[in-house]
């Protein structure tokens, strides 16, 4: 299990046969995205088809885990009981270097957080079973 970050279970992802490889890879410290075998474009979130050209069966591919913060917020209060104990926490939209965007948290030191700031993927354990790709500010 990579990483030492941990938080309460929140709302664990309810996986299915199609999404299982993504969550298995996260447990191994790899962020998977999809690339279309026909139009060669990347997509996230994963789907059974390419949302660009509607071809079937896009393939899983490891992402670089590098990207920029497209936008972010600090959630200080939430009506959702599963996450109340996590407040405050940073929710962000990450634009991956491959192009697609994904929702994640920014974890670790957040001094200097800003739109377009570079980030890299880290992996956080949520409860006993789930491992979620998150991001931290890239200071390297």
């Amino acid at each position: 299990m990579p990483g030492t970050l941990a938080r309460a279970p929140g709302l664990p992802p309810l996986t299915d046969d199609f999404s299982q490889p993504y969550w298995d890879a996260a447990r191994q410290g790899t962020l998977l995205i999809q690339r279309c075998r026909t139009c060669r474009r990347y997509q996230f979130y994963p789907r059974a088809h390419c949302a660009h050209c509607f071809a079937d069966d896009p393939e899983w591919t490891p992402a670089s885990g590098r990207g920029r913060i497209h936008t972010w917020t600090v959630i200080r209060r939430t009506p959702n009981a599963e996450f109340a104990a996590d407040c405050p926490y940073v929710l962000a939209i990450i634009e991956l270097d491959e192009g697609p965007r994904m929702t994640a948290r920014i974890v670790g030191e957040s001094d200097g957080i800003a739109c377009d700031r570079r980030v890299r993927a880290v992996f956080a354990r949520a409860g006993e079973t789930a491992v979620l790709p998150d991001f931290c500010l890239d200071r390297g």
Binding site: G10, Y45, W72, R76, Y89, T103, L132
Partner: protein, 387 residues
């Protein structure tokens, strides 16, 4: 060139519940109160209704996927036309457009659009997730989004791209509160300043508590019929001149670009079908779940250029004497927001055009735009009304 149905259908009755707190009351009872109120305003009875539209699947609305059938049953009617389009807070505005199409096509003659929720007092729990943690939601819900946070994400990027400030956003809340001060039913009426908004607690940066709508137990309803039928009735018809709707995204990772919404498409279609331009709109009821919702709508609906919404608001253009008076009853930010503000936005537009607004009464406006925005800047419906 207006659409051939432009002006063929009119709103002939409208009602907003004066309730803001209704502990112990089921929302269906408020649905019935609103249905009765709107029909009485129209001089019609429940037996005249042959079409019904509602959305009531949020927890605090009391129904699930059979909402429109449940409400018909509760009211005791058997409509021959129904619409349960369920696109968040924009739904009642969408229902109005769909009703116009149905009436123009002869599928219904009198359509009742009703709405109610106990957003404040609902005792059975009401998480604000739009989806489940399976399917697409498995890549978003585990991170703990909230409704206000999704709007905060859009506000932050708008600030980054265009220099919009927290003060610009606050100016929208300040104007809605000023309008509410005249409305005896408004949830909050005491004036607030830009500093009051900035001093209120941050809920999700950069949005403060006073950037967020009130949460109430209430509802509203309106009645549409053919223009021919409307002219035979005693009330002053408010004609539906244009309508458009559009779907954006539900998952925030799919919002692209992050500083524009489906309102650009719904607005363009509304103007096209009305044969009108933004500068021909006398006043607007813009969905104000949050201050950023209004700011994005000002730009997407063509009242100012992209990126200029903050300056437009801060310059006082939203005030009764400005270029585009908005939310004249206090809006969702200060008067009433039980769950889907769209119904109440239609009601206030009708009242404003009839000269009966409980808030600020403008000087004989002839046209009004109603804009609904649902979910997390997800869905959009735009209606243009005229007298």
């Amino acid at each position: 060139m207006p659409a051939d149905w432009s002006g063929a259908v009119a709103i002939v009755g409208a009602y907003e519940s004066p309730r803001r707190r209704a502990p112990g009351v089921h929302p269906f009872a408020i649905q019935a109160e609103c249905a009765k109120g709107a029909l009485e305003d129209a001089g019609l009875g429940m037996q005249d209704v042959d079409g019904l539209a509602t959305a009531a699947s949020f927890p605090a609305e009391g129904a699930r996927e059979m909402a429109v059938a449940e409400i018909a049953e509760y009211l005791g009617i058997h409509p021959r036309w129904a619409d349960g389009t369920d696109i968040g807070g924009a739904a009642p505005v969408s229902h109005a457009g769909h009703a116009v199409a149905a009436i123009a096509a002869g599928l219904a003659e009198v359509v009742l659009v009703t709405y109610a929720a106990c957003g404040y007092s609902w005792p059975h729990g009401a998480p604000d997730y739009l989806t489940y943690a399976h399917g697409p939601g498995q890549w978003e819900l585990p991170y703990g989004p909230s409704t206000v946070a999704t709007y905060a994400l859009a506000a932050r990027r708008h600030m980054h791209d265009y220099g919009t400030t927290a003060e610009d956003l606050a100016a929208i809340a300040v104007q809605c509160r000023a309008n509410a001060s005249a409305n005896p039913h408004a949830r909050y009426t005491a004036p607030v300043t830009v500093d009051d908004v900035l001093d209120s607690p941050l809920i999700a940066d950069p949005l403060h508590r006073l950037d967020c709508c009130v949460v109430t137990d209430s509802g509203g309803a309106f009645v549409l019929t053919s223009a021919r039928h409307a002219r035979e009735m005693g009330t002053r018809p408010v004609y539906v001149l244009g309508f458009g709707e559009a779907l954006g995204q539900v998952s925030m990772s799919q919002m692209w670009p992050f500083t524009a919404t489906a309102a650009a498409a719904s607005g363009a279609r509304a103007y096209q079908t009305a044969g009108m331009r933004p500068d021909e709109i006398d006043c607007a009821q813009l969905y104000d779940s949050f201050t950023i919702t209004v700011l994005l709508a000002l730009e997407d609906l063509g009242f100012c250029a992209k990126g200029e919404g903050g300056k437009f608001a801060s310059a006082g253009e939203l005030a009764p004497g400005g270029r585009l008076p908005i939310n004249t009853d206090g809006g969702g930010l200060s008067s009433n927001h039980p769950g889907r503000r769209g119904a109440l936005a239609v009601v206030e537009a009708v009242r404003q055009l009839r000269g009966t607004s409980p808030g600020v009464r403008l000087d004989s406006p002839r046209t009004a735009l109603v804009h609904g925005m649902g979910g997390s800047l997800s869905t959009s419906a735009t209606l243009i009304l005229g007298v």
